[in-house]
Amino acid sequence: MKPSRTLSPYLFAAPALAVFAFAVLVPFATTGYYSLNEWNGYGDMIFVGVQNYVDAVADTVFQTSFVNVVVYILVTLVVEVLVGLLLAGLVLTVRRGSIWFRVAIFTPVMLPMVVVALLWSFVYNPDFGLLNAALTELGLQEWTRVWLGDEQTALLAICVVSGWVFAGFYMTIFYAALRQVPSEVVEAARLDGAGEWTIFWRVRVPIIRNAIEVAVLLCVTGGFQSFDLFYVMTNGGPFHATEIPTTYLVQAVFRTGEVGYGSAMAVILTIVVVAAGLILVALRATADREGRAHRRLLAKAKEAVQ
């Protein structure tokens, strides 16, 4: 008699699905429900329909927060992904002892973000901090700033910290990908007279394109989800110069008790992040299709020649 397998797949998947539903689906559904109400977290809920969404879209600070987070993402694409790629290329050239370089560069990734934020708050402190003190000692007093208090510098200062932390993370991803590049291809390029820089940009980087696309996707979606660095270092200040959607909605929920409004902002943010992810995936799929079509054409041309 054959055992019944109708139920067993569901039973095996049920625990993981239950956790997923409890930790993701149910909170998402309840957040959506809260977003349709005016609620302070403990009193009566008043149904307001989409009014919270209308208010959020019209909220100039919420609009500014999206501008700030997009700027943050664009800068971190450079200071995290690009710098990570360059560091990976440099580390690849180290014949012996590269592991120590990799450990050193990766170490900031292992630090809790709150610790990083506190550490760099000290570095950036305008009165006692390391950066202004160093600039003063070097005779560059005119370069000192209130780094986290100046609207011109606060966001960039946070981006630098982000780069310091995550460049090592992307370096690790790219290093692993670069190690997979076939040595014959590299040797062939060398024999053709290509220099190391040309080999890196024209041979290795195109081959690890998939890893770069994944890194860009991680950077973009991760950027939208940033919170702890901004919260600890500036909490959206000075005067909303570093306000991002997450800090603003946390303030709405946990400070002014606007749970419904904060929930609406959270839903909008989720939609934006999902849309960004889908766009990137769609672009990647389009590029893959074009690449495959290009390779088919080349193969046909080769056959025709032969």
């Binding site: 539903a21 409890f22 009165d127 209130v146 500036t234 909490n235 929920v253 946990f254």
Partner: protein, 422 residues
């Protein structure tokens, strides 16, 4: 295939809901019928925590079968979402710390503040405190809070030696203050240190300043939403903050550093003055024991309405109205125990001076003078963030911070503030 997906999703959701409901079972607010007295507050520091724990032991020894559960939360968390969550959760506190003002009114409106009138008149709290002390904690003829500590929330602290070194007298008028700023700035010293990253530090001080100019009544009406900010009087008041910026009175980093860092500028003698509340006394004694410092109330403002007004905040403890009658009685007994002479002395030793403390050798004489300042003031105003709606207070503090930083003019700030809150 579709049926399989539906079955999997249904199974997952059922499992999740079961786990969720099981976790949430037990109901929400209410003190419970058990013999545990639950007390919640923001963290008052190690020294005071020790006093609370000793009082808890004393209560348990005197009430067989009863236990006391003390819950100390992070201050910022408690002041915002922490307390409401506790009050609406399982095992809500029976006694909780609160500020007089809008917050107490809100707790009363939400049904979380027990009427202690009977306890005060003839129950466990009879003759514990001077009846006058309940004036500010009485709402609609109901005593809702037992006051514990009264703080002056803004004075100008000054470094005695630094002012003397620059031949400056403690400023008593606005003109004195601006002259002091000019002299100190020229000498490379920060005139007034402020750490206003969270907006309340300078907000308290500048709020007091503008209230002097517009008058306590106008201050109260505007923050309560009963009058507009967009008036010539408010613009005039904010104009004085512009003058502070023009004279370089406040450290450039004020809006980038928090209150701890602002105080450090004063403790490390990089700033000659620091505008903050009475809690600086014990803090400075701990952090900078060699610092010679004293205070003046906010200097007299030109054309001020309420001369010599003081900004103060009274805090105390509220009994949860949703606790059982037995627990409300026990809560009143506990609060009475808090105010015995022995425990009052313990709090004084922990650098918290209760409202019923008498002058003694262990209380710093600056604290005694501050208590007199508060007690004798004809007009006392509340800081915006503890006395009024938090959203209005935040907008008010942001407007003050913007003018202090020179980012916005007084007129623009007042107009924008009015648009935001009205």
């Amino acid at each position: 295939m579709n049926r399989k997906w539906i079955a999997a999703a249904a199974l997952a959701l059922t499992g999740a809901m079961t786990v969720g409901l099981a976790g949430c079972a037990g109901g929400s607010s209410g003190g419970g019928d058990d013999k545990t007295l639950r007390i919640a507050m923001g963290s008052p520091g190690e020294a005071q925590i020790a006093v609370w724990e000793s009082i808890a032991e004393e209560f348990e020894a005197a009430n067989e079968g009863w236990k006391v559960d003390l819950n100390f939360q992070d201050d910022d968390m408690y002041q915002t979402i922490g307390l409401p969550n506790l009050l609406n959760g399982r095992n809500a506190p029976d006694i909780y710390f609160e500020w007089v003002g809008n917050r107490l009114l809100q707790r009363n409106a939400d049904g979380f503040a027990a009427d202690l009138t009977e306890q005060v008149e003839s129950g466990a709290l009879a003759d514990v405190l001077d009846p006058e002390l309940y004036t500010t904690t009485t709402v609609d003829d109901k005593i809702l809070m037992v006051p514990h500590i009264a703080d002056v929330s803004n004075v100008i602290w000054y470094n005695v030696d630094m002012l003397a070194e620059h031949d400056i007298d403690p400023p008593e008028t606005w003109e004195d203050l601006l002259k002091a700023c000019d002299t100190l700035s020229a000498a490379g010293v920060v005139p007034i240190a402020s750490g206003n990253k969270d907006f309340w530090a300078a907000g308290n001080w500048l709020g007091h300043l503008v209230s002097r100019v517009v008058g306590a009544d106008a201050y109260d009406e505007a923050l309560s939403g009963e009058a507009s900010f967009d008036t010539p009087e408010w613009k005039q008041a904010f104009g004085y903050i512009e003058e502070l910026h023009e004279h370089g009175c406040v450290n450039e980093s004020a809006n980038a550093i928090d209150d701890n860092e602002g105080a450090q500028l004063f403790f490390q003698e990089k700033a000659a003055m620091h505008a903050i509340g009475s809690w600086l006394v014990s803090w400075a004694i701990d952090e900078a024991p060699d610092l010679t410092f004293d205070f003046v109330n906010l200097p007299a403002m030109p054309d001020e309405v309420d001369a010599d007004s003081v900004e103060g905040v009274i805090t105390g403890h509220v009994v949860n109205a949703k606790s059982s009658p037995e627990k409300i009685e026990k809560a009143a007994e506990f609060l009475a125990m808090l105010h015995t002479p022995e425990n009052t002395e313990k709090f004084v030793g922990a650098e918290a001076v209760p409202v019923d403390a008498t002058v003694s050798e262990i209380i710093d004489e600056r604290t005694v003078r501050l208590n007199s300042l508060l007690g004798e003031a004809a007009v006392v105003i509340s800081p915006a963030d503890t006395g009024y709606d938090l959203e209005v207070a935040d907008a008010f503090y942001r407007a003050l911070a913007e003018v202090m930083a020179g980012r916005t003019s007084a007129d623009e700030a007042v107009t924008q503030l009015a648009q935001q809150v009205e």
